[in-house]
């Protein structure tokens, strides 16, 4: 690259500051942008392309079948229960996670000695290896495991948690909530500490009860954080895989087979790459629609945003 600005008789050098900046900008974003093109956009196009093909790995054939995989999707008897399981899992996770996170954040926001110790302990599962955490819970939730052992001490006969459809679903939700609720807890805590103290003082002068203060001041003031955490949590809940694979393998039956796990089974256990790709498209559409709805809600329900 010639640096023309050094040439004496040239009035307007090619490498102006603006052009240098533009070049630097493109260089700086190049690794990330090329990465997104290579590892996200091209694969997304390929997923769509694969989803219109019948792909037999054993016979090594790859034939165009148009919308046949999508027809199969609509007729797949497993799909309604899989979508139901995903919906129950995501809804249960978001509701439990956000309400527990908010409760813990309010508790940690109190003026109490040693509160940092509690904060550290509530947050600690976030840094425990996900698979290690899930294995311990799997051990605890065995029919003769720790939880039923403790229940039996009190004369209660616990269910076989991971082998009964309802309790299996409850188990995978709860295990995931305790693992990650610390993240949302910290975000809520930061939001609570950002609410101007004067608002509460004014409310107290007016005689508002603590409950009323929480409902009328705290909740509206932290609503941007509630929205943000709900987006992160819902999108995260659609990606849950290790917990299902280790705790229940999608069972009993298909009661805990969420969409990602079903996709994995179809593509990598049964080698139905075409149909697996169709399921990927479905997963992508669900994530996109949910994110869109939540960003629309942002305009309506979020009150105070800078």
């Amino acid at each position: 690259m010639n640096n023309h600005s050094a040439a004496p008789n040239q009035k307007r050098p090619f490498w102006t500051i603006a052009r240098k900046d533009a070049a630097a900008g493109f260089l700086f974003i190049a690794p990330q942008t090329l990465g997104i093109i290579t590892f996200v956009l091209i694969p997304l196009g390929l997923v769509f392309y694969y989803s219109m093909h019948e792909w037999n790995v054993l016979a090594n054939t790859f034939t165009f079948v148009g919308d046949a995989n999508y027809q199969m999707l609509l007729r797949d008897p497993n799909l309604p229960p899989v979508l139901l399981a995903s919906a129950i899992f995501s809804a249960g996770l978001v509701v439990l996670n956000l309400s527990l996170a908010l409760l813990l954040a309010v508790l940690l926001d109190q003026k109490l000695k040693g509160i940092v110790v509690f904060r550290t302990l509530f947050f600690s599962p976030v840094v425990v290896s996900l698979v290690a955490w899930t294995i311990v819970w799997s051990f605890l939730l065995q029919a003769n495991g720790g939880i039923n052992g403790i229940l039996a001490v009190f004369g209660i006969e616990g269910p076989n948690w991971l082998r009964t459809p309802t309790t299996a679903m409850i188990s995978v939700v709860v295990v995931q909530v305790f693992k990650n609720v610390g993240l949302n807890m910290i975000l809520f805590l930061a939001a609570l500490q950002g609410v101007p103290k004067e608002l509460y003082e004014a409310a107290r002068v007016d005689g508002a009860s603590p409950f009323k203060q929480f409902r009328r001041i705290t909740l509206p003031m932290i609503s941007p954080t509630i929205l943000l955490t709900s987006i992160i949590t819902i999108v995260g809940s659609l990606q849950v895989f290790a917990q299902i694979a280790i705790l229940t393998k999608g069972g009993p039956g298909v009661s805990t087979t969420v969409l990602v796990y079903y996709l994995y089974q179809q593509a990598f256990q049964f080698n139905f790459f075409g149909y697996g790709s169709t399921l990927s498209i479905l997963l992508f559409l669900i994530v996109a629609v949910l994110t869109f709805i939540q960003w629309q809600m942002r305009k309506r329900i979020v009150f105070y945003e800078n």
Partner: protein
């Protein structure tokens, strides 16, 4: 809502928090104590909160049943490279999107943000085929390249951009008047100021890589290449039953080092998370 609390309320709050702590703390305790119980005591009734007999041979068995040291190294070096690589890629991209004017920057940023919308689960099938074509199946390349350059690093770029946007511009302007180039400004002025954001990015990238499970089981097939999360599920007897105490010993060795680092540096962890672009 910080008000001064009556002593009675204070006791009630401590009590409530201690009860709530049980499901957060007990599993880790149970993992550590059960990992040193002989297999005959593992399902003892009533449950032993403290082992009645100790059997430390479980820790030795972990290394006999799996190439566990090798697997540990795999996880550690992959996480280290991914963390360092993501810090470089995301801080450069985040800085450019926040501070440098160049054509189409907003449009390109929107395209990059698509990575947040498209979780790697959606693209796992074509990624598998791509890496198969490149002869990189059963190597660590997919676990290194995709997180550094692909969807997982977009969140880091977003965090860095939010940080650099909030940074006052005067320092940079002064440097520009002195004729410093963009890279110099980025390296000597902007980046040192971004240490808190970089710290948060490092922590989350490390944890993400350390916890990766779907990708390793899709891309890796030989035990020598396995990462820890994958290795932890391999401790089964000839009938496929879990060898609980050995498995929990391996899980303890996986979890405890990160947990200790966290306890020492918990302030950085928690505040890094709370005060980075995450707030919106």
């Amino acid at each position: 809502m910080r008000t001064d609390l009556s002593p009675r309320l204070r006791v009630a709050l401590y009590g409530l928090m201690c009860v709530l702590l049980i499901p957060f703390v007990f599993p880790t305790w149970w993992m550590i104590t059960s990992s040193v119980k002989p297999i005959s005591d593992i399902f003892a009734f009533p449950p032993d909160l403290w082992p009645r007999r100790f059997d430390f041979s479980t820790y030795q068995r972990v290394f006999e049943l799996q190439p566990f040291a090798r697997q540990y190294w795999n996880s550690a070096y992959i996480a280290a490279i991914v963390t360092a690589g993501t810090m470089v890629v995301s801080s450069m991209a985040g800085y450019a999107f926040a501070r440098i004017k160049f054509p189409f920057s907003n449009a390109i940023f929107m395209i990059v943000l698509l990575g947040l919308l498209i979780p790697s689960e959606v693209t796992i099938v074509p990624l598998f085929q791509m890496f198969l074509g490149w002869g990189m199946i059963n190597t660590h390349w997919p676990l290194i390249l995709v997180p550094i350059f692909g969807a997982p690093s977009v969140f880091a770029t977003f965090v860095m951009r939010q940080f650099f946007i909030a940074l006052p511009g005067e320092l940079e302007e002064a440097a520009r008047v002195d004729g410093l180039g963009r890279f110099k400004i980025f390296w000597t002025i902007a980046l040192p100021l971004a240490k808190p954001a970089l710290g948060a990015v490092a922590i989350f990238t490390f944890l993400h890589s350390w916890n990766l499970y779907l990708e390793p089981i899709v891309f890796l097939s030989s035990t020598q290449m396995f990462t820890l999360p994958q290795a932890l599920t391999q401790f089964t007897d000839a009938y496929g039953g879990a060898m609980w105490n050995i498995q929990l010993a391996a899980a303890t060795m996986t979890a405890i080092p990160v947990l200790l680092v966290f306890i020492v540096a918990q302030k950085q962890f928690v505040e890094g998370l709370a005060h980075t672009g995450l707030k919106g």
